[in-house]
């Protein structure tokens, strides 16, 4: 039995154990509590709701791995969505062509990357705390967005964008496909590329990394730029799903993305954490939300339960640490 557990742990990696256990627990609890939980509708709604939160979580993940935080993610996504919407509007609104969409998407990602770039430069070169830099960037972007839209929403999106928000290919929703693609990109980036390795190094010990000859400033700037670009992808998906952009949309996701990262076993001080466990943690959160919804509870209750889940995981982790401490002491 212990060998089996050990083998599963080795296959999944130590970080995956927690989220995977939570996943199994959620499946069992709701399987009994909500009779129609195992239905197409449940997993369908999860599949459509997951990408938005998921893409923003990916954007949050990289800065956290370096020991920072990016509080500007939702408003960066809003700004990118606005950019795309304006390009589409200037090209005829509902009648805009695919070319306009391509151009708009490139500009949207450029806008997202630019906001990340500015944050990265400030953080890397002035050593200001990432929480503060991204916080002031968040306030700035929210203000900018509200100033430009006067608090209203921008709509008039051509019809061919709808499949990006609602369509599905062989039964898998398009937004989910985009999200999975982004998960894979992040996975490859973090496990196979030099930038990923350096990201972990910086999160573990930035000074030691700098002394070992790695240009830590460049890595930090790149990490925040990539984070901003990923926000832009989220912004584009949000635009397609809601058929309009509004500054402040998705604001409530901000702290939940942090929660999802920590639930996925990412070390709050940086240096440790993988993409796949975070993905599983996100699925758990959405299943929890859908399950509660099936049982007639509100979205707000789901938010509270997400918080309680987080605390529970942290307490379990503390307990596990204590037990390990005890056993090693005895042996």
């Amino acid at each position: 039995m212990t060998v089996l557990i050990e083998r599963v742990r080795n296959a999944l990696g130590p970080e995956l154990a927690g989220p995977f256990a939570a996943f199994v627990a959620v499946m069992i609890v709701f399987g009994f509590a909500a009779p129609n939980f195992f239905s197409r509708a449940t997993f369908g709604s999860v599949a459509f709701q997951l990408p938005e939160l998921g893409l923003l979580t990916l954007a949050m993940l990289l800065p956290i791995l370096t020991g920072g935080l990016n509080l500007a993610i939702t408003f960066t996504a809003n700004m990118a969505g606005l950019t795309l919407a304006w390009v589409l509007q200037s090209q005829g609104g509902v009648d805009a062509g695919v070319g306009a969409f391509m151009l708009g998407s490139v500009l949207a990602i450029a806008v997202g990357a630019l906001s990340g770039l500015i944050m990265g430069l400030v953080i890397a070169y002035t050593k200001a705390h990432p929480i503060l830099v991204s916080l002031s960037m968040m306030i700035f972007l929210r203000g900018l967005g509200e100033f430009l839209t006067r608090g209203g929403d921008v709509s008039g999106i051509p019809g061919f964008l709808a499949p990006i928000g609602y369509g599905s290919i062989i039964g898998i929703p398009v937004p989910l496909l985009i999200f999975i693609a982004c998960v894979l990109i992040w996975h490859v980036l973090l496990t196979r590329m030099k930038l990923g390795f350096n990201t972990y190094m910086i999160g573990s010990n930035i000074e030691a990394t700098r002394y070992s000859g790695i240009n830590t400033r460049k890595v930090q700037v790149l990490v925040y730029t990539l984070s901003g670009a990923m926000c832009a992808v989220a912004g584009i998906i949000m635009l397609a799903r809601f058929n309009s952009v509004r500054v402040g949309h998705g604001e409530s996701y901000l702290l939940i993305t942090v929660l999802a990262c920590f639930l996925g076993g990412v070390n709050p001080f940086g240096g440790f954490g993988r993409v796949i466990p975070v993905f599983v943690a996100l699925v758990v959160l959405q299943l929890l939300s859908s399950g509660l919804n099936l049982m007639g509870a509100s979205q707000h209750l789901a938010t509270a339960v997400w918080g309680i889940l987080m605390i529970t995981v942290m307490i379990l982790r503390w307990l596990a640490g204590r037990l390990k401490f005890l056993t090693t002491n005895r042996g």
Binding site: V122, S136, G143, E146, P268, I311, M314
Partner: protein
Amino acid sequence: MRRFVRSHATELALLAVIAVICVFLSFATDRFFTLGNAFDLLNTSSVNIIFAVGLLVVLIAGGIDISFAVAASVVQYLTATVLGWVGGGNWIVGFIIAGALGVALGCINAFLIHGFRIISIVATISTFNIFFGLLMFFTGGVSIYNLPDWLTTRVVLFEREMADGTWAEITLPVLIMAICVFATWALITRTTTGRQLYAFGDNPEGARRFGINIGAMQFIAFGWLGLMAGIAGLVQAHYAQEVVPNALYGRELDVLAAVVLGGARLGGGKGSVLGCILGVLLVSITQNGLNLMGVSPFAFKMIVGAIILAAITLSNTSIERLLPFLKSRRVPS
């Protein structure tokens, strides 16, 4: 004198910036440099300053708290409900209830952080979601307008008719704010506990070896913020004359930015009450000035955000540190 300048660099820099902005605004607008406007500024910033001094204590102790504004909403709602049950009450009862509830919520955070060694940002983000989720779930987002009379009546402590016929008033929130500020100042600079908080924030392990009770430090810091949040919640209900469950949602990040602007350091061990107040005032003076200059309210946040970004960038970097980078960029050698 030189020691004072060196040890209070942030505060002096903030004062200078505020002075420059004030001089500029006095010339740019005719309403800014009046007693009435100054008092308005104080009245409107009171709640934020109460929050800010509370948060300052947590930051000094090396923690961070995201949940306090939502905790204040919970306190508001519960206090209004309890006051309804007991049939009225008065200011003293109100403060006792709100303060006790605030401390209780703060202690939940401290318990999670100290008891299970959860780092403060994770714990408070979790409690943020729990508090807000449960509040919205149980209230259904319904506001309370039916508050006791004593809570909604404006209390004017000082008033004076100006030459142009308008009234300059100082209201109750300013007095409460002054008491909270003084109490916090006394706590962190005039008591042993205060010195221990600084020591704990600067180096928790060192403080522990010195014999400082680190559990007590967490409970004092988060309990104090809870107390301030509770009081601020009640004052906000008085000021707005209603209790709206999500009115304070999002306030935490604005307050955090203002406090850090005032020289408190994420990571602990640094920060002063004066700097903290100046940080809040800088933000509200800027907003007030923009308002008087007729700038669209939609632009406020953009400009405030840009100012905070610039201030943080500049305060974290000295010219010497920035120069080598500029040189190497401009003159590739």
